[in-house]
Symmetry: C2
Subunit: 386 residues, 2 copies
């Protein structure tokens, strides 16, 4: 049913596993999904008692290619500064797993996958996916790998939401949890920015009501606008000022036209244009929707602390001072709930002017926090390393 998984030193390219064939997989929307595929990558070696596994959960537009050359863009993996031999998530010590989320577009079942019922891409016929669905699917793969308890679950942004969902849904299956730059629910402003992105995609005539793949078209222009808007929210104003300010593309001065006069315009256009090469527009709709729907407290009677009552999980919550998309206040709400649930939790706000995207960078204080927390947990867990 599945490809061999990474028990060797070298990362396995293109591992997949299929589920939902024998046992039905019920989505939160009340529809059964199956069969479906999860695509994932692993790094490092799983130890004999399978106690050194770290699940990294990716963000909205991330994927399973955490620490290797991306097969589409040819660029380094999105967390290659943090995951690898001798790095914060040290693959000489840990077995790192990353799974493309349900609804994604890098091999896991999503709207561009073929709907067995029609023989055509699912498009909008794919049921809406939730963060809870994504995590329940991941749990199937972790079981499939024979891992009874994850040493750690971590991730930033939507990855952090999955971390919280894992800890709430499977407290006995997670030793440590590091939610980064995240929140236990999407705010009105978060939803608003996502809605603008979705409207930009759906406004593109090449979107074709979602059936663009069957029509041989692609809503590149709408998807690029969605990405550009989102990208602004990933950076802080000081970071944009430091990187670009009002600097012009051409030293000769303003052109008095609508081309990209300012460097920041050219940068955004590039972000939009390169994003459409690697991402599926309908996946963008589904995954943003999953984030909007996320409200962990809602599942637990409206009280977030109830999600973590008597949890054995050790938490380290990390926020960044200049992140205005998932500001420190939202992360602190998680910490307050964990405190109210008498959980073992530490909290660090990293000083950085890089905005939300700081979690993708090698900020020294961030790296030290990750290393320190993981080392402490490894000791408590009784992990020994060569």
């Amino acid at each position: 049913m599945t490809e061999p998984v990474g028990t060797a030193d070298a990362p396995q390219a293109g591992s997949t596993a299929d589920f939902g064939r024998e046992a039905p997989f019920m989505l939160d929307c009340g529809v059964e999904l199956g069969p479906f595929t999860l695509a994932y990558q692993t790094y490092g070696r799983l130890n004999a008692d399978k106690s050194n596994a770290i699940l990294v959960c990716h963000a909205l537009t991330g994927d399973q290619f955490v620490a290797e050359t991306h097969p589409v863009t040819g660029k380094p993996g999105w967390w290659s500064l943090m995951v690898g031999p001798g790095l914060a998530l040290d693959t000489d010590r840990y077995f790192v797993i990353c799974i493309n989320v349900l609804g994604g577009c890098m091999g896991t079942t999503g709207p561009k996958s073929i709907n067995p019922a029609s023989g055509e891409p699912w498009a909008l016929d794919l049921p809406v996916i939730t963060l809870g669905d994504m995590v329940r699917a991941q749990k199937l793969l972790i079981d499939h790998l024979g891992i009874d308890k994850l040493f750690c679950v971590t991730g930033g942004s939507m990855g952090g939401m999955q971390v919280l969902q894992w800890a709430a849904s499977y407290p006995e299956k997670v030793f440590a949890a590091i939610p980064i730059a995240t929140a236990a629910r999407h705010t009105a402003q978060n939803i608003a920015f996502h809605e603008v992105g979705r409207q930009a995609i759906m406004a593109d005539l090449d979107w074709c009501g979602g059936r663009y793949l069957a029509e041989g078209r692609n809503p590149d222009r709408g998807l690029a606008v969605a990405r550009m808007t989102a990208h602004i929210t990933y950076l802080s104003e000081p970071a944009l000022h430091r990187k670009f300010g009002r600097r012009l593309q051409d030293r000769k001065g303003l052109t008095f036209g609508f081309d990209a006069d300012f460097q920041v315009e050219s940068y955004l256009r590039h972000q939009g244009a390169s994003f459409v090469q690697r991402f599926d527009a309908n996946s963008y709709l589904y995954i943003t929707r999953a984030m909007d729907y996320f409200d962990l407290a809602e599942e637990f009677g409206g009280k977030l602390a109830n999600a973590f009552r008597s949890t054995p999980v050790r938490f380290c919550v990390i926020s960044f001072s200049s992140d205005w998309l998932f500001p420190t206040a939202e992360n602190r709400d998680v910490v307050h709930a964990l405190n109210a649930a008498a959980a073992d939790v530490s909290f660090v706000e990293i000083e950085s002017d890089a905005g939300h995207d700081a979690f993708l960078l090698d900020e020294p204080e961030f790296r030290d926090t990750l290393c320190g927390f993981l080392n402490g947990c490894a000791e408590h867990r009784g992990l020994s390393f060569p």
Copy 2:
């Protein structure tokens, strides 16, 4: 050449004046524009020595209908809470003028006006307009009305930029200036959000390279997305939370689809849909461009204080605590420059959670600040009221 102007009590509907026929009007881009029309509205009565005139400058998507029913939307004027008999800008005392900016779409020459050379709408053949051009055009109208010196120039956002440009360009023609929720230059983040809006418009196939009017089409979808994005930046996160939070449109719960589940989505869609009824997409391109190009210091050797050396103008700079588009820090930079130029300046940061749009609301501290400053200036100016 012009219609009669407001020397009566009742506001004059649809006043216009034409310029650039006898004397050429040179734009900052180096191209001559002419003839061109300015459309404006007035409220109150100009006194005998023409010393009680207040010029109100409108923001990006505002227009000259400050304090009367809008002829297109049927809604109250955008500053009807502040301008009128007995209000902060008391039309029993002052003669209030508002001029649709050059490049606009409510009667003043803009991209939807007819280009005399072609007999078709200008579209992108209209030269790019700057804030400096807008203000020089306004000066022609103020001269035409026989007003030698404005008692006050005020406005919020882009209106505030015009206030600063007026004070810098015509210090002897302005007694008092109230720039509100503004900046002396557009930041990288401001430019980035505008660029996203422009890209959304230009991505719409109905934009037709700008020639949509000639083609009988309109880029409604792109313009709506541009408006939705911008609208998020006009509100603070706390205001969005207070107004909408995560409340659903339908009490029955989530629909697990892509319709507007959340009230904030429905609100944004409504903002987009109603905006396209009253605003021209190319005007949106031209006016956002004018704001992006605005950098008052640049005109004065890179030092903002030089724009105000020995200025006789009395300033009152007003910002709002939750405005993240034109944050207090940007307004304070203006105050610092005015201080460095030894100008007469007071500065008030109004506590409000309403974000940038607070300047459109009747916040009591804001109203009191406007009234107090205007009363003091009226006394200094020797104005007497019936």
